[in-house]
Amino acid sequence: MTEGDDGPREEAEELLDALVAAQDRLLAVYQVTRALARIRDHEEAVGEILTETLRLTGSDGALFQGAGCWSAGDAALLTAVEGGVDVPPRHAVAESRGANGLPVAVALAPVPVGEDTCLLTLARSGRRAYQTSDLKLVESIAAVLGGLINLTQLHRAGVERARIGREHELASTLAQAALHTRLPTIEGWQVYARCDPANLSGGDFYTFAGREGDLWFAVGDVAGKGLPAATVMTRAVAATRGAFALGSFPDAAAALAAVNAELFDFLANAGLFITMVLGRVGAGTGTLEVCNAGHSPVLLSGRDQALAVAPSAPPLGIVEELRGKTMVLELEPGDLLALGSDGMTDQESPDGPMFGHDRFRAELAGGRDRDLTELGDRVFEEVTRYAGSAPVTDDRTLVLLRRGSVEGAMRESSMEFSADLASVRGIGPWLADLLGESVSDETAALFERLELALHELCVNIVEHAYQGSGGAITLSGVMAPSSVTIQIVDSGQPFDEEAVATPVPGVPQVGGYGLMIVRKLVDEVRYARVGQENTWTIQIKCNKS
């Protein structure tokens, strides 16, 4: 063997040693991570890694500081090395002295955790100093520790975000519940109201109140959208309802001034304003008065022409003492006042241009003889169709007030009863009263279909929504010349369509037939959950030829 042969062999052995060391480190990291797989708790996981580290590195004590503090092994030894150590930029070795004066070998490794850097300290008693190969292993373990802690922080942040998201959703739902779910009824008028927020909740609102034979109404839009606007919206609804309930105002402008006075400080502080149209109609008359505080679109749609009702006051929150002008409108039977929001007219199409006032006007123009709900819903459908793939830019609101036609007088009636099976039997007499005295075969057939449909829905409410524990059910019906529409409102559990096994016709099954029967009996069945209330709407169209 010559000297010349030793060089390559030494190199080969070094390489082999390095490979073995690298393999050892891989194995160590594998063992550390495998220890993690058994553990679900973060605290426990760090402890487990440190214990494993003691074994793998032949240390007597391990200490992890920063983002918490964990230790494993010989506590007395660690006390000697703890504290006063600056985090080194790379792994390092040091020597210290233990409490008994004996030397302690120390290995330090920085652990990257997010923006901060934590420190892993290992200690060996006696003179067993840490070697370079040990430090490589320590560095690998530090990397695993850092990964674990980052992961935990990410997870915690995710949980927190989810929690905030749920709270946001709940708050939004509550805000939206501030809107009326039940439409008011007033003699000689038909009322339609709907608000579709762009998000879970929005800044649009409407509200009604009956007082001394008049119906007061307000439709408004808080600047902005989403939860911040909704928060202001609920405040605005409360202020408006408060004014309706407390005040006896000479006219619409006076009522609007009262709402402004109530909200002014709040709005001025928040740097927000509200556009609102407020007014009243008298029962049995064609007179309608409004005061428009910068709201749009407000449209009076008559037989031959439509007239935009221009603003007659500044928006709320602009001036402290609002002096608006009340406009008095005389409506002929069939004329209607439409109170929209800019989310309707300003909705853009995918190509850019907005839906606009002309389209809004045109949608309402042909609707004199149409069912009011159908007419209103159609405007929403048209705006949605127009928007196509373009994003929904703002909340959409539409309130329609139509003077009832003289010839085809409408009948309206409502009834509240307690949710039990005996009381459900009161539906028949109430329905007979709504449909009127007519004894034609057509009315008899209508009665039979509606009674069974209402009965089925109400029994479902008694047994499922209220689960037999009672509550209140309200029926409100409108008999128009071309249709009968009835709303059923309860405050029980929400209806879950998924939970109902739809029967296959002709195949016997016990239960689940109620809704199937209802769908066959009437022309339209709709369900909506708003706030804490369920609303079922059923409609039968009558073809009086």
Binding site: L421, V424, V459, G506
Partner: protein
């Protein structure tokens, strides 16, 4: 709803009169189960005087039919009134039952 039970014939007959709905199902079931436990294999139910019937009553009739057929007998529905026929037709279950139309009194 009035429920009359006639056990004088070869098969017992329940005569229902009035509204047959969720409210009276419990009553109906008590009467029917009495007849089943008295070892009557087949039971007849007269529905000619039912003025209103709902899906809960329909489900109860279905349940009873199954119980009796499982015991080797049958539930025979006699002369269903218009409201009863309507609900049978809406659910397309008119073929699931044994329905007989008779005139006059039972022999």
């Amino acid at each position: 709803m009035r429920i009359q039970v006639d056990v004088h014939g070869t098969t017992p007959l329940m005569i229902l009169e009035g509204r047959f709905d969720a409210h009276v199902i419990a009553d109906f079931r008590v009467n029917a189960e009495e007849l089943i436990s008295a070892n009557h294999r087949t039971i007849e139910v007269d529905l000619s005087q039912v003025v209103f019937m709902d899906s809960s009553a329909l489900a109860e009739i279905l349940r009873l039919t199954r119980t009796i057929r499982d015991g080797g007998g049958d539930l025979v529905l006699r002369n269903p009134s218009h409201p009863v026929r309507v609900i049978f037709e809406l659910t397309a279950l008119d073929t699931a039952f044994t329905i007989v139309y008779t005139t006059g009194n039972r022999s």
